[in-house]
Symmetry: none
Subunit: 230 residues, 4 copies
DNA sequence: AATGAATGAGGCTTCATTCAT
DNA sequence: GATGAATGAAGCCTCATTCAT
């Protein structure tokens, strides 16, 4: 009766459960996903799930953890390719947007579910937010140290950056006709760099950071419509 | 049989239910608040609640609506006292922080519950977020029109502002020992004004907007950064 | 669809649940009785049960309590009709046997279930046993005080009495073809009275205590087959 | 692959399972002990257990059986050292108490679990009880035959003895601060011997039976009661 | 208007047992 | 002989909603 799909077998059952849970949570949210749903999607039995995980909550937590880890790893990889401090910050920003743009499900789980999972996870959510904010703050601090930007309250600035990013992604997730998340990058970049006191001249260079060949220097002062340097 | 206590009658039963639900949701979140809890807190019966509201969800929606309305009204009142465009934006910002600082419960419902209520409310959450973002955008647009700030993408900027505000309040709500929310205003103001391209000179004037007497004392020579390093 | 039987309606639903649980526990034991079973037997829904009781355990406890109370009340009523100390003890003994003889279900719940309910209830079981032992001890103490019997360790004696009673009833409950529980009274009475040092002469008077007209004095010395006084 | 540790092999795996099950049952009761628990304690796998035993129930039954056998053997050994009929009964009594006093775990399994295991085992429990009662009855019958005691209904008397023993041990098991089980022997002995019509003179000789050297010193003139009041 | 008993679908978790390896 | 992953039937409990009174 059970059809044996070699491709399915290759990945361990545990992995399959995780995957199934991942998309189930992304589709219906934590609370509205029944363990039965996950079992069905993973082509297992409820008992099977409880062999691999102690609880529904544990599955969720693991998912959060690894998803966040993946994202952080990506960001750090992208940042490592940059040497200029501001470019690092730009790379971080861009990577997050690009990653979510390509993995809408990931975004759903990390942004909507985290919030939607209820009080039980809020401490965890908080820690995650802090982790990302710290990441950003690190790049901002570097920028300050290297005198790329003037001294500023990097604590609040990183929170602003994270909050902004959060909101942009959340909106995109909930929009009727999403459009491209990555397209918001240039504008978001501009606003956030400005918020950190990055000189307008540097902002005008364009946000190519994070792409392969960086530093495609745009001539400064080009007052495009809709935005302006002072 | 039912004894009529004038004090009880003063506020309609409906109102009492709303109040009870408000604090119940704030305390335990939407999903973890049972209709029974609300009934008990409102000193009514479950049936009584269902006489006044068609569902638990409806109570929550109404609460969101009126809570948001109150906040918007407050903001508009504060903004109305300002004439200078940037001061208006500052007033909006400050009012939100001050309001939440004084009504932690309100913040809880509007920020944590909204998110924690699950998929069912996300469209609503989204609309609420949009409403606030639009409000902010209006002030930014005014500022641009009056040439107080250079032209900029007010759409994204307002989202950034809202996201930042959101994050700041959320953190404060989830912090172990909260501290004063209002104290974050100066730093947040600085970062956000800068993000909108407000001239450093204007930023350095200090964010007194939103308080009783505007006292817009223009400090001369705001060349010196006016930012604090970490 | 729900047939309305006036006789059923007369007793409150709560009562019906209690009754249903009582016989269900007696039939299958605590652990092997599902809440669903009780609901079905009480012609209610599972939710209905949980409206009246907080848990399956609570139902059981209440049943234990009231059942034990009833038995104790019966015993005390029967004892009250006796004046002579030894007759009181006899009445107690006889009442327990007679009661269980007439209410096999009661015995099942009180004796087998109590034990079979698992560790969770053992403290409770213990207390119940103690209660009965104390009851017996009281009568023995009275007998000692009134010099009807010689001083003796009533603590251990009451435990012996209770244990003996317990075992006799348990055996009867588990026997293939039970026979009459009450028929064991004369023999049990004799052994227990002897264990308390009641003079053989008094034992030989016959254990009519507990029946309506007491003190039907049998001529002493009648050595029936199978038992003997010394 | 499986490393062969001689020390492990010394006792067969089967034995190890039995031991593990024994203490697990004693600790948590039959129903609350999962097969997994036994497997873990026996350092085996669940599958391993099911290789040696057809079911959890079978393990329990075997445990009951062998435990009871051991106890009976002990009793018979102790009894064999006595020649006087009443001394035999005393030895039986004392051995049971002494054994349980030294093996609380054994008592737990045999007394509490037996009861707590649920309906499924009650027939078995019954048979066990009967077995012990028969054992006792045998000694009583001998005593009657040898005219050490007057003829009496040994059937009911043995049940009383067993029930009393049962209750005493159960109480000891469930007591908060147990005290010495063996210390209850003298009092229990006195009551039970009296219940069997053993002459007061003989009772007053003291219950030394069952200890190493019988030391059956017949104190003369045991007219004085020999009982203690409460 | 209000009450509160009743409903019943559904949720999470446990666990004895089986079986491919 | 042994392992441990998998099964699936139950089990207890929650709770939004309905409805007779």
């Amino acid at each position: 009766m059970p059809r044996i799909d070699p491709a399915e077998q290759s990945r361990s059952r545990r992995e399959r459960i995780l995957d199934a849970a991942f998309s189930a949570f992304a589709k219906r949210g934590y609370r509205d996903t029944a363990v039965d749903d996950i079992a069905a999607a993973a082509e297992t039995s409820k008992g099977g799930i409880y062999f691999h995980f102690p609880s529904k909550e544990a599955i969720f937590r693991e998912l959060m953890q690894t998803t966040a880890d993946k994202l952080v790893a990506r960001v750090e990889r992208a940042v490592a390719q940059q040497t200029e401090p501001v470019a690092k910050a730009e790379a971080a920003l861009h990577t997050v947007l690009a990653t979510f743009a390509g993995h809408r499900t990931m975004a759903r789980v990390l942004f909507l579910d985290m919030a939607g999972a209820g009080r039980a996870f809020q401490a965890e959510t908080n820690r995650l937010h802090e982790r990302f904010a710290e990441l950003i703050r690190g790049y901002l601090d570097e920028a300050v140290e290297s005198r790329a930007i003037a001294p500023l309250d990097t604590a609040i600035t990183s929170v602003v950056w994270f909050g902004a990013l959060n909101e942009v992604v959340a909106r995109w997730l909930l929009a009727d006709k999403p459009g491209s998340l990555e397209d918001t990058y240039p504008a978001l970049r501009e606003v956030l760099l400005r918020s950190a006191g990055v000189p307008e001249a540097r902002i005008a260079q364009g946000g190519t950071a994070g792409r392969e060949a960086p530093s495609r220097q745009t001539v400064p002062g080009g007052a495009e419509p809709g935005r302006r340097s002072r």
